[in-house]
Amino acid sequence: AAADKVTYAIPTAITQQYADLTFGITLGFFADEGIDLQLVSLSNTPTVPQVANKSLVFANSTADGQLQALAKGERIDVRFFYNYLRGSVYTFSVKDDSPIGTIADLKGKKLGIGALTWGNIPMSRAILAEAGIAWQKDITVVPIGVGPAAWRQLQTGQVDVMNYYISENEKMRTAGIAVRTLPYPDRYRHMFSSALVAHVDMIRDKPDLLARFGRAMAKLSVACKAAREACARSFWQVYPATRPTPDKEAEALALGVRLLDGNYQSIGFFPDGKEEWGSFKPDSWNIHVQVLADGGVLPRADLPVETLYTNQFVPEFNKFDRDAVIAKARAAEAKND
Amino acid sequence: MAVAAYEQLRPTVVRAAPTHLEVADVSLTYESRRGRVPALDRLSFDVAQGAFVSVLGPSGCGKSTLLKLASGLLRPMAGRIRLAGEPVTAPRRDVGIVFQQPTLLPWKTVLENVLVPIRAMGRDASAGRERALELLRLVKLEPFAANYPHELSGGMQQRVGIARGLIHDPALLLMDEPFAALDAMTRETMMDELQRIWMSTGKSVLFITHSIPEAVYLSDRILVLSPRPGRLLHSVDVDLPRPRTIETMADPRFVALASRLRQAFVAMAEPA
């Protein structure tokens, strides 16, 4: 049978951070499931409407948009069906030599965020509130964008702390800026950062495709966990133009591995020890809604969140030979050494 | 104004030929941000079929305006203009016009500039080419057929404009000081050529000039306009025999007519 063409978008630039996806391609996991994957970067624009409009088959998304729509009584015909970044990827980071040690120390300080529009803001407000710090009262919050321009703000002391994702920390370290993350309250680590959505029609009409796609995702996660370097390298295989100059390759590989390490703290976040790829924990949804409600983003916390996601395919996702996948990944790793 | 001075200028005798161009009681006033400039004031005259009528008048009296009215480029604010009995509401294909300024297209060669009316009217340009080259020979510009207008002198540009006005063989020819930029000799050659073309084709011509001898040499009738706003002061018939030649200019009747017209001008310049 002809392979199913699938357009799958992630809501940021495709970088080595997503090398696990390319690893899935190079190891043939998608092809094995009869899927012809077109990986699309969709930044600066929300992915969910495109799935709702069937321009995309699958996409990664945060939960916030849908929760807000739900609170307004609007229905979007998409469901989360595969939990990808299972835990929070956000951190509070300070310079290594900063006197700040805990979140409670942030009182009276200056906080740099990417933009006021970022999805992590409600959560950060809640975390700070828990520590008795009122947003924009006990702490000054300034948007400073992403990348080098933002880092300089921390470096030069214009902000005391940055509230970014793990990968940004790794990049800063690679750029020679020593940063340290503050201990993150446990409750919030359970909130997923990014999961896959599909149209309800797809779920109804093509459950098999969802199952196969999720299985490929699960396999690539296992593989990338097992062979970090090969995983990072696979990105250059799929996108040769991004391969650095030979003298920079080792450094770039190191960064790639660190970015993946960072991401996999979240992707591989199974606090109860059982690897169940793609599954959602109802609890984490409730915490999420509560945080947003406390932060004033949502008018109330009693939302029918269960209508937003489904765990129905989880057993299918996990039906594969874990050891064979690991062996395949290790073999790839061995080839590169 | 000393009206007595031109009593000897008789009014025009109505001709037998049918009227080709009829200008009846035409007035036009330009509106500009500086105010209103009346250019023509209740002007009336006819050009009979096949007649050669010249218009003389001081600078700024409305001669070019009259031409634009006759060609349909402007519409009169009062009065009416008819061509072969029909009201003129827009430019017509059987009219040829030579403008006071050459107005050539800088991006077309001399030949192509001459062909403009043919192409504009959607006629067959390949046949027109022959005729265009012939007309360029007539205006002594054949070697410059492939040149561009900015490579020509002022007089040469004007001659291209003359050739262009003739290319589509119009029944009525409107000419606005076509020979003004030409030297005496070229001008005389052109005058003779124009007379030849006119006599052999039976075109009607409305010819604006500021040269009295030129007007007398070429015309059946000469209209003299007053200073702005142009009103008809005199209409003078010229009944010198055709074809007229250099010798005609020495004819006492020619000289007398020219000097009478000159006096009419002098009188005009005097304060009323």
Binding site: T7, A9, T12, A13, I14, T15, Q16, Q17, Q38, L39, V40, S41, L42, S43, N44, T45, P46, Q50, N53, S55, L56, G147, P148, A149, W151, R152, K171, T174, A175, Y239, P240, A241, T242, R243, P244, T245, D247, K248, A252, L255, G256 | S71, G72, L73, A90, P91, V95, I97, F99, Q101, T103, L105, P106, W107, V116, R119, A120, M121, G122, H150
Partner: protein
Amino acid sequence: MMEPRHALDVVKAVVPPLATGVVIVAVWAWATRPGGLDAFVLPSPMAVLRALYQGWIGGTLLPHALATGKAALGGLVIGALAGLASGALIVLIRPLEYLMMPLVTALQSVPKIALAPLIISYFGFGLESKVFTVALLCFFPLFVAAATGMRAVDPRLLDMYRAFSASPLHILLHARLPAAAPYVFGALQIAVVLALIGCVVSEFVASTEGLGFIIKSGSGELDIAGMFAAILSLSAMGVAAGLLVKEAQRRIVFWS
């Protein structure tokens, strides 16, 4: 002007930009000297040169440059023709201006990035979306140039054509269009630049290839040198396209 160019002319045309280039690289090298700007804000010229060399000799940049170039060219051609035609239309049918001008301005004032979701809905994630975005961007300068330039024609030439019973369409093609040519070429200069930017921006938003994709992933991965290599390639494409437009103008608008 039509004679074969002299060696001196070539020297004149080549030396100054080269000299400028040298000055810029020198300033750049100075700005990125040890202790100057951080390498992740602005990498050193050497690092970028190396990345450029690798990308082009290794052939990895070529397909991306081609992808961007193709979409930019396609969009430019479509947008420019549509702009010209629409500009001509409002010159031909005056009342249309009141209809089209505000509409077009309104549409153009919307950042294309904000329209991306809509565009993607209709055109998908492939070439078509990029071409459409580029066409949308290139439309406007050509539209304005056509409308302005075709009105700037010498009114005496219009009178002349009218006197010879030329149709408005004939006048448009033979008098207004040539008169608008310098405007149109000026607009093309702007449009080629907008085409490249538009293409890259739509590659930022959604893409799998193109220089925009490389710039974006380069910035995400801290391969800032690679990102600047892509940016410089883009600039070079812009300059080359600009020179092509200039040369075309020199040949076509010979009379001015």
